[in-house]
Symmetry: C2
Subunit: 216 residues, 2 copies
């Protein structure tokens, strides 16, 4: 019975995700599902990324997922773009039905890129389709160079991995070659970007790729 | 139906956890369930902790939980203590049935402290009882001082929080007072320890508390 119920839940979830996809298609919106551990720097990355993208004429909307607080949505709203906060309570990932709900009343006509910042978790969010075009994974230097092989699910589903906090490499035993090799071992096609979200280092390369990606 | 199945699963899980508890009680073993994000330093902490505990006459066994690889068990086995690796595959937390299985053949008569290192995840592991005496949470400086309020479940269930990687404070915008206040806001009774697992800083204070705790 357990497996049957799980299958029913997943099918219902995928159906709602497809409704989101149809909705976004109607508005010609490209959507990203951004996944990382807690504290890898997702929100800080968005704070850096959004002004650069807006300068390129891209109009952005953000959905923030967290168990509790609206801290992240408040940070993003300072950039004067539309943002919705989802609080999952004890939920370990964003569900399609939550995103669908959050998009009601969202000014979809005014954006062409939707960034969904998932709950900080390297496991559960990888298994759920939210209507996005691509999933992007993020890992940060202090988490250690072995994380790609220990959490392979993220590599399996991500088109790109952002390695953040590269400014901390000198103060850790992080080996960048190992990290890249581990990523490629799980997903040979994955693109890897190196960033420091607090200083903005590496943001331009990622933005260039993202703009190209959103047009294909 | 979904809620009913969930309830049945949780009841079955708690029954197995109780069997683990009875088993450990028979052998007078104190058990810890160690929970953190990926890469907070759980295994490095154990590498530092175990020799100090063994010097105090405590005999330790370790269960390592990871999605993939036996890297952590290999690291711990170099300390010449009994260790079992559980690979959860796509599972986001250790389940009681996995721990119960891993304890078959485990030399329980030879240990008096069992450390269960859970899958790196700040959400799901907090909801499952594995027969442990206490849950201990770990957070690290690069994850940011706001994590206690954004992931309150861990604070709710933990008797102690280990703040690791304090050597990185000078290179980040981490505010320790904020971190401590946020922890206490969620759980006013929680003990907070500050460590640097790579250098061993703060390990003694934690060991002293743990030894006292395991005797009460």
């Amino acid at each position: 019975m357990e497996i049957k119920v799980y299958k029913e839940i997943m099918e219902a979830s995928d159906q709602i995700a497809q409704q989101i996809r149809d909705l976004l298609d109607n508005f010609r919106i490209f959507a990203i599902n951004l996944i990382s551990s807690p504290g890898s720097g997702k929100t800080t990355l968005l704070e850096r990324l959004i002004p650069v993208l807006e300068e390129s004429g891209i109009k952005i909307g953000v959905i923030e997922g967290d168990l509790a607080t609206s801290n992240d949505a408040e940070r993003i709203s300072r950039l004067n773009i539309p943002v919705a906060q989802i609080n999952t309570g004890s939920g370990c990932h964003l569900g399609a039905e939550m995103v669908h709900q959050a998009l009601k009343g969202f000014p979809l006509a005014k954006i062409n890129l939707l960034i969904i910042e998932n709950v900080g978790n390297l496991v559960c969010p990888t298994g759920f389709y939210l209507g996005e075009n691509i999933k992007i994974g993020m890992m940060s230097v202090p988490e250690g160079d072995d994380k790609p092989v220990k959490y392979p699910l993220l590599l399996n589903v991500s088109e790109a991995i952002i390695l953040n906090k590269i400014d901390l490499i000198p103060y850790t035993n992080f080996n960048k070659d190992n990290f890249i090799n581990y990523c490629k071992r799980i997903n040979s096609k994955v693109k890897i970007f190196e960033t420091c979200a607090t200083t903005g280092e590496g943001i331009t390369e990622f933005v260039d790729w993202l703009i190209l990606k959103s047009k294909t």
